[in-house]
């Protein structure tokens, strides 16, 4: 199950890359919109802190960070 899951995720990633188009510098207006960003300000640290201390999982924020102090 785990192997199949990881494999299908890799396939999704590769397909996404294959689907890439060149976007010229002057065509990047939509990508610059705040609602198109990958993380939004102080939300990331807040929600990660809440969930990391109330659930068993952590990580997945896409950024390197300090260790979680919750036991």
């Amino acid at each position: 199950m785990k192997v199949k899951l990881v494999t299908s995720l890799c396939v999704v990633c590769l397909l996404s890359l294959a689907a890439c188009e060149t976007v010229q510098p002057w065509e990047r207006g939509t990508l610059a919109k705040p609602e198109m960003q990958l993380s939004e300000g102080l939300d990331s640290p807040l929600y990660h802190q809440v969930y990391d201390s109330k659930e068993a999982s952590s990580g997945g924020s896409g950024a390197a960070g300090a260790g979680c102090g919750c036991n």
């Binding site: 997945g60 960070g65 036991n71």
Partner: protein, 380 residues
């Protein structure tokens, strides 16, 4: 005097560099956020002893991000929390054949302060950052350092990010002698992370990330009556994020997924989706849903077995049981050129039946909470 389980985590993403962060910021940004978090009380019938009141936590966050000279930027994050409430000390079988909680008595307020500083050097298509973070509270102290870099490629349509971090935590449980708790313990965490952000077309972007962390040292909960965990944990998480803008609707869809796995036997799935709907030029409304599901740890037990030797791993911590959870949330944002204001409301509910691989018994400490946040950002 018992202690609540505070938010012990250092803000792992406190200085999260968003993808496309390689260029130096052009303006100074100041952000503040005030949050109130309230767990629902445990049903009285599930409490054998102690208080049924759970945590209430108030959090204040402050962030400053500013360019310095031609090639540098500096970030400062400060968070301050106050918390009160009771926490589960143990789980035992009640007379009715159902697991019951032994809770601590109601507690006095506890405080936590966290500060992190990040210095970033910006090159033409890459940036390197060093982050120092520190977290302090009555019984807990953590210090962390991390180094990360971002490289833009393909005419800035692709961004590679790599990071490494090291954290050292010390715990000195309060009332250790009185309750027979450990007096002073340490824990070391080391982690590596890698990410790739890719623009797919004018309207969509995707991000893949992998984090691997190793924890070494005292990993048990010292406030529980019986909680014995391995002195080592290796965990990894794979994350996918997708953003897509819809021209006709003037809205963006967010889809996030994370798969987590550790060598304590836990694996989990997290899905988060949000619809960012614009109304006119200034207003955005974001309804969002999060679904979480985890299975139980290898050494998880529904009730504590005080007959087992203290060297045998066991824990009845609800956070190690098999269950699922939903969060329903909505965020409202009003934006002007140099500032914006936001209000978020979230409700979280958990139950063993929501999970993909539930434990045999429902843990009475599975919680629900409500959270409300108010935020302000300034740019100048």
């Amino acid at each position: 005097m018992a202690k609540p389980n505070p938010f012990l985590a250092l803000s792992t993403a406190a200085m999260a560099l968003p993808a496309f962060a390689a260029p130096q910021p052009v303006e100074t940004i100041v952000a503040i956020k005030a949050t109130t978090y309230q767990e629902e009380d445990v049903p009285q019938r599930d409490v054998l002893a102690g208080s049924d009141e759970r945590y209430k936590i108030d959090i204040a966050q402050f962030r400053l991000l500013t360019p310095v000279g031609e090639k540098w930027s500096l970030g400062v994050d400060v968070a301050y929390e106050t918390m009160s409430g009771a926490s589960p000390w143990g789980t035992i079988m009640g007379a009715d054949g159902e697991a019951s909680l032994i809770m601590s008595g109601a507690t006095i307020r506890d405080k936590r302060t966290e500060v992190s500083l990040t210095a970033t050097h910006h090159g033409e298509s890459r940036s390197i950052s060093v982050d120092l973070a520190s977290s302090d509270e009555d019984d807990y102290e953590a210090r962390a350092v991390s180094i990360s870099g971002e490289w833009e490629m393909n005419n800035k349509l692709s961004t590679l990010s790599l990071g490494v971090s090291y954290s050292s935590d010390d715990i000195e449980p309060t009332d250790a002698l009185r309750f027979g708790r450990v007096q002073r313990e340490e824990k070391i965490s080391r982690s590596l992370s890698a990410g790739w952000a890719q623009v797919l077309n004018k309207n969509s972007v995707v991000h893949v990330g992998l984090d691997v962390t190793d924890h070494d040292g005292y990993l048990s909960d010292p406030y529980k009556l019986r909680d014995v965990r391995p002195d080592e944990k290796l965990e990894w998480a794979l994350s996918l994020k997708y953003r897509r803008y819809f021209d006709n609707q003037n809205a963006a869809l967010h889809l996030d997924y994370r798969y987590y796995n550790d060598d304590w036997g836990i694996n989990s799935h997290t899905f988060h989706t949000g619809w960012h709907q614009n109304f006119g030029d200034n207003v955005r409304v974001v309804p969002n849903v999060r679904y979480y599901s985890q299975n139980e740890a290898d050494f998880y037990r529904g009730t504590d077995d005080f007959g087992l030797a203290t060297t045998i791993n066991q824990s009845s911590d609800f956070r190690l049981s098999g269950y699922g959870a939903y969060t329903l949330g909505v965020k409202l944002i009003y934006s002007a050129l140099q500032w914006d204001v936001s209000l978020s409301i979230d409700r979280y509910i958990s139950d063993k039946s929501y999970g993909h691989d539930a434990s045999d018994q429902s843990h009475p400490a599975l919680l629900s909470f409500n959270m409300t946040s108010f935020g302000l950002n300034f740019r100048f």
